[in-house]
Point group: C2
Chain length 301, copies 2
């Protein structure tokens, strides 16, 4: 069975910002028919009447171009503010309400799944990093996830994702933490599953060279994994390069690994970021070449 291959709209940020721009780019230029929407294109804090119009556009326009929106994901803009682990509990409340608005926007846009990272604690003045977030912060996060699942169910969503990130100040960052967290939110009003990223689980400065393996995530957590982010990277940073760049990720081996670990049916989204100042034309060429490379790798079998 061929793995469903799509693209996160991260590459469209500040460029192809409306469905009438990004849908033809995805379908006609990249030859893809599946996307993951990015909240770097629409901020759920915008007023209801504007969000409603923008949601209606997303519900209508991509379909006319033959593009399906699988899910909607937190982008770098919202990720910037420490979200539900900010040291000020009032800012955590703001982040929780932000997600509620994101769920309602997604539901109105016909997008049934929403996900992303959940938050980051602050750093210490001396630069020392604790191995784990404090237990009280973890408990607070789990309570918020349970409440959010109720909001998501009321909005009509079917699935929520947490995206593990390779940082001790965020959560979860290990396979074991991810397993514990999914168990701790089991039975939520809408299921919380994982979206794992090829450049997160392989970040050697955090995990060490021999523990930074996607195999570990896929083998231990297969039933909990709902979607996968793929990128080219060197395992030294979370690069989010496209596949025209040289790196450590082999697309064919990636497809084989997903098949071997029983994940061939999970959608895989290319997630790439470019400098704001790079020219549009070279980005379109690079993303199109990357989509072609991934399609070849993921359509076998």
């Amino acid at each position: 069975m061929a793995t469903p291959l799509g693209i996160n709209l991260s590459f469209c940020v500040k460029r192809w910002v409306t469905p009438s721009l990004w849908a033809p780019v995805v379908r006609d230029r990249l030859g893809l028919d599946l996307v993951q929407f990015s909240f770097d294109l629409v901020d759920p804090t915008w007023p209801d009447e504007i969000l409603d119009d923008l949601a209606a556009e997303i519900a209508a326009v991509p379909e006319r171009h033959g593009v399906t929106v699988h899910s909607a994901f937190i982008g770098l803009a919202h990720y910037t503010f420490n979200q539900m682990l900010h040291p000020d509990p009032r800012v955590r409340d703001i982040a929780e309400r932000w997600l509620g608005r994101a769920y309602r926007f997604a539901a109105k846009a016909g997008i049934a799944r929403v996900g992303g990272p959940l938050g980051a604690i602050a750093s210490r003045v001396d630069g020392a990093e604790a191995e784990a977030i404090p237990p009280a912060d973890y408990d607070d996060l789990i309570a918020r996830m349970r409440r959010l699942a109720v909001v998501a169910a009321e909005a009509g969503l079917t699935e929520l994702y947490v995206e593990p990130t390779p940082m001790r100040r965020e959560w979860p960052w290990t396979v074991e933490q991810a397993r514990t967290m999914t168990a701790d939110v089991a039975g939520s009003a809408v299921p919380w599953r994982l979206c794992v990223d090829w450049g997160h689980g392989t970040f050697e400065p955090l995990y060490g060279r021999y523990r930074a393996r996607m195999e570990d995530w896929f083998e231990a957590l297969a039933p909990e994994i709902g979607a996968v982010h793929i990128q080219q990277t060197d395992f030294q940073y979370d690069r989010h390069w496209d596949f025209t760049e040289a790196g450590a990720v082999d697309p064919t081996a990636a497809a084989d690994l997903l098949a071997r670990t029983g994940l061939a049916d999970r959608p895989v989204f290319l997630e790439v970021f470019y400098p704001f100042e790079r020219d549009d034309r070279s980005i379109l060429e690079a993303v199109a070449r990357s989509a072609a490379i991934l399609k070849t790798a993921f359509s076998r079998g």
Copy 2:
């Protein structure tokens, strides 16, 4: 006369997020006493009662550590959404209101100057880039800048900055455009001046190798320049590296150039960004070394 040297709080984003964290880092670890606040630490869309408390903290805490906040600047989070050149005029209105809230927050925090880039038009599906934004969009932007200056004056601000960025979809990106824009907003309720960035004016892929020179900006626009961003970069992208990295910017030559062009009294802010996943300790070390390098270069004369 020694150039006032400070640091934009971009390096604190998602790490040292409150004044009681960043003020001691800036004063004790970096040995600096001047900062430019970043709206990546506080989003002006947050509710008034929380903003008021956070503003009161910024008005009180940095001073106790011997740190002065010169200005507040738009960060990457707000920059993400095309701001006042978004194709949807309603989103432009949202960005204009965002700035009004940013001005009121800054004023309450005791920060008299606010700035940043103004917006980006969308890209075309075929990747072709126009040389200039459409005249109607430019006129709309100027009208918004004039209105915003009134809001800033009412809030009690004394100066606004526009930061030129090296992109045809944004504005201004040439010396001539910057000169025209400052003339077109002359006489605003609060003066609009420029904050130029060492890695923007030198971006060779846009300007060509022989036109990508900070000299041109400083010589032509000296009276209009209110502040300067410095970074290490290779002129091939807008890197925002620190000065532990090898690059094309020589700090001593930079200080000499500012003195030669009559800008020795303008504050210069180091603006550096790091991958979210990089460890805190190595960032503190790199920023501290960079601050030391710049202090040596800028304190002569």
